[in-house]
C-alpha cells in the first residue's frame, strides 16, 4: 500500500475495476467475463470498456437474460478450471440466481468432499436515487453472508475496487462482489501495477477515541462526511471500512471498540438480520468481557424503497443522520443536536481519495 503523493495517479472506481479486470485477463487465460451487456456500447458504466475488443468474444460476451442458468454455467465452467467473472447490472437480479449461488456455488467444495472448487466472481451493482425504486436499489449482501462458503466483498473506493477485484478473481472460492453505483465515479489514488487488497482485512480510515463507526460500501463515504461535521463539535470518530464482509476482520473492529466503548454500524441495506446486526453481534460477543459497549445501527428505513425524492430522502442514512446518531451516543446527556443542514450539504462535496 502506498501513501498519497502529487505524482500519484487518480482513477475512478469504474476505471479501477476495468483496469483490474484487464490485468487479470492478461495474466490468466482462464479468466473470462460475461453477463448481460458486458460487451455493449455502455460497457457496464464503463467498467468493461474495451475488454471485448482486447480479449475477443470467447472471453468477453453478453448472455441471454437467464440469470439462473448463466450462474450455473459459471459454476460449471469454474469446476472445469476456468475463472468466470459474472456481471449483473443490479444486485436485485441476483434473486434469480439464488439456487445456483446458495445451493451449489457455496456448497460444492464441502458437499463434494473437496473434489471441486468454484473460483467465481459475481459482480453486482446497488443502485440509488433517480427514482430507481423498489427493485433497482437493494443491498442484499447479508443474504449471501448468511451462507457458509460464499465470500462477500463491498469496496468503498477505487483503490479497493481494483485490489479486491484482483483478490476475488485469484480466490478459489465464489465471491459476491458488491458495487454501489454512486461510488462509480468517485476517484482515488490507484497504482497502475496489479495489486491485491486482501479479503478479510479491514481498514481504519480515520483515527479517533470517541466512537467506532463501521461504514459498509458507499456508507463508508457518508460516514467520512459525517465525521467531518463531527470534528466541528469536537467528536472524533474512528471510521473503519470492513472492505470484505465475509471473511470479516473482527479483530480490527474489536480492537477499536475496546478503546472507544461505542460502536455504530452504517449499512447500505436494511438493519434487520443485516450485516450491521451481524457485525454488532460479533463485536459484542468478543468485547463483552471488557467495559460495556454502546451499540447502534443505521441502514435503510424498514420499508420498501420509494421513488419520489421526498420519500427516498427519508429512506437512506445520510451524513447528517449519521452525525446525529454519533452525537447521541457520545454525549447522551447533552441536548439533542442536529448538524446545520448547510454544513451537512457541504460535506457531500468532499472527495475522499485516500490514503489507503
Amino acid at each position: 500500500m502506498s501513501s498519497p503523493a502529487s505524482n500519484q495517479r487518480v482513477l475512478s472506481y469504474v476505471e479501477a475495476l476495468r483496469e483490474g479486470l484487464a490485468q487479470e485477463m492478461r495474466r490468466d487465460s482462464k479468466v473470462f467475463l460475461f453477463g448481460l451487456d458486458v460487451d455493449d456500447h455502455k460497457a457496464i458504466q464503463g467498467s468493461t470498456r474495451g475488454l471485448a475488443e482486447e480479449f475477443g468474444p470467447d472471453r468477453v460476451f453478453g448472455t441471454p437474460l437467464s440469470e439462473d442458468a448463466m450462474t450455473g454455467v459459471a459454476v460449471g465452467a469454474a469446476m472445469a478450471g476456468m475463472r468466470p467473472v459474472h456481471v449483473h447490472i443490479r444486485m436485485d437480479f441476483l434473486m434469480l440466481a439464488m439456487n445456483q449461488l446458495v445451493n451449489i456455488a457455496a456448497k460444492a467444495r464441502y458437499m463434494y468432499g473437496g473434489q471441486v472448487q468454484v473460483p467465481l466472481v459475481v459482480r453486482s451493482m446497488i443502485g440509488k436515487s433517480w427514482g430507481q425504486g423498489a427493485q433497482h436499489s437493494q443491498g442484499l449482501h447479508a443474504m449471501f453472508m448468511h451462507v457458509p462458503g460464499l465470500k462477500v466483498v463491498a469496496p468503498s473506493n477505487a483503490y479497493d475496487a481494483k485490489g479486491a477485484l484482483i483478490a476475488a478473481i485469484r480466490d478459489d472460492n465464489p465471491v459476491i462482489f458488491v458495487e454501489h453505483r454512486l461510488l462509480y465515479f468517485t476517484d482515488a489514488f490507484v497504482p497502475e501495477q496489479p495489486y491485491v487488497v486482501p479479503l478479510g482485512k479491514a481498514r481504519i480510515c480515520t483515527q479517533g477515541d470517541d466512537v467506532t463507526v463501521v461504514g459498509i460500501s458507499n456508507m463508508l463515504v457518508e460516514c467520512l462526511r459525517a465525521q467531518e461535521i463531527l470534528t466541528d463539535i469536537g467528536i472524533h470518530a474512528e471510521i473503519i471500512d470492513p472492505v470484505s464482509l465475509v471473511p470479516l476482520d473482527v479483530d480490527t473492529i474489536v480492537g477499536s471498540v475496546k478503546r472507544t466503548g461505542r460502536l455504530l454500524v452504517v449499512d447500505t441495506a436494511w438493519t434487520s438480520c443485516g450485516a450491521s446486526a451481524e457485525i454488532v453481534a460479533r463485536i459484542v460477543e468478543r468485547a463483552q468481557n471488557g467495559r460495556p459497549v454502546a451499540v447502534r445501527r443505521l441502514g435503510y428505513a424498514p420499508t420498501t424503497c420509494p421513488t419520489t425524492p421526498v420519500l427516498e430522502r427519508e429512506f437512506y442514512p445520510d451524513p447528517g443522520r449519521i452525525a446525529q446518531a454519533v452525537h447521541a451516543m457520545v454525549r447522551p446527556e447533552a441536548a439533542a443536536w442536529r448538524p446545520d443542514p448547510e454544513r451537512a450539504k457541504l460535506a457531500h462535496q468532499v472527495k475522499f481519495r485516500g490514503p489507503f
Partner: protein
Amino acid sequence: MTGDHAQRERIFSRNGAAAVRDAGVAAPDLERIYRSLRLIRRVEEEIARIYPSDKIKSPVHLSIGQEAVSVGVCDVLRPDDVVAPTYRGHAAYLAKGGSLRGLFAELYGKATGVAGGKGGSMHLIDMSQNILGASAVVGTTIPIAVGYALALKRAQTDRVSATFFGDGATEEGVFAESLNFAALQKLPVLFVCENNYYAIHTPLPRRWATDRLCERVATYGMPVHQIDDSDVFKLREFAVAAVGRARRGEGPSFIECRTYRWREHVGPNEDYDQGYRAREDFHPWLRCDQMQHVARMIPDERRTAIDAEIECTIADAVEFAESSPFPTTDQLYTDVFAGE
C-alpha cells in the same frame, strides 16, 4: 398410462436379437452393456437390502428400472467425457465408472466415501471419472453441465458433457434457459431426460398440458430423439449420433427416454399399495426390463461368470464401507472454503 398399454405391449414384445442386429452391437459390447446394467441393478438391490439395518445414513432414490438410460448413454462416452447425474444418480454414476467402494462408503457416512461422508447418496461425485456432483434440487445440475461444456469447448477439446435429469426438471425455468444457451453457443452437450412419468407422486397429465416435450425442445434449435420403450440399443444408437455431433462442434442434442421407476420415490420399497399408481402399470415395464432383455442375449456361461464377478465386487465394496472409519469430528469444518 393404461391407455398406452396395447401399443407398449407391441413395442416390448419385439425380438431382442433383431434389435441387436439392427443396432449392430458386437458381442464384447453386449457383455459390457449387460455388466453395467446388472451391476447397477444389483447395487441398488443390495442398498435396499441393507437399508433397514440403518447402516446407510442417507436417503436413497433408487434407479431400479431406469438403468438403461444411463447405460445406453454412458456406453458411448469416453472416459474423458463428463456426466452430470441427478439425485437419483446411482445409475449414471456407476455407468460412467464411479468408484463402487466410494459409493457404499459414502452411503455409510464413512471417511472413505467419495465426499468423505459429507454428501451422501444425493451428492455423489467422482471427478477422477469425470462425474460431476449431483444435486438434490431438481434441475440444478443442468446448467452446470452446460458450463462445463463451455469450458471444454473453450479448451478446444472434442470432449462432451452429458446431463441427466427427470421429466420434472423440464418444468424448471433453468431447463429452458440452459437449452437456449447451449444451442446458442453450440456447446458439446447431451441433454438426457429420463421421463419416468412422475415428479415424486404427481403424474405427467397433472403437470403438462401436452406431452410433446421433444417438440418444445426442438424449437430451441437442436436435434431431438424420443425413445418410448427404454430400449438400450436404440438409445445407444441415438447417443452415438448425438455424441458425434457434439464432438464435431455441431452443438447439443436432446434425448427423451421414457422409463419407469420400480420402487418408491425415496427409500428401498415398492409403493404400489399407496394409491397413486397401479401395479398393472408396472407390468409392461417389467416385461421389457432391459437388464433381463440383454441377459438373454449373453451365453449362459458368460452371464454366470459376469454375475459372479459382480457379486464379488459388491461384497468387497460393502465390506470396505463396513470396515472404514467414520470421519473425525474436525472434518466438520474442512472444505467450507477452498485453500483453507
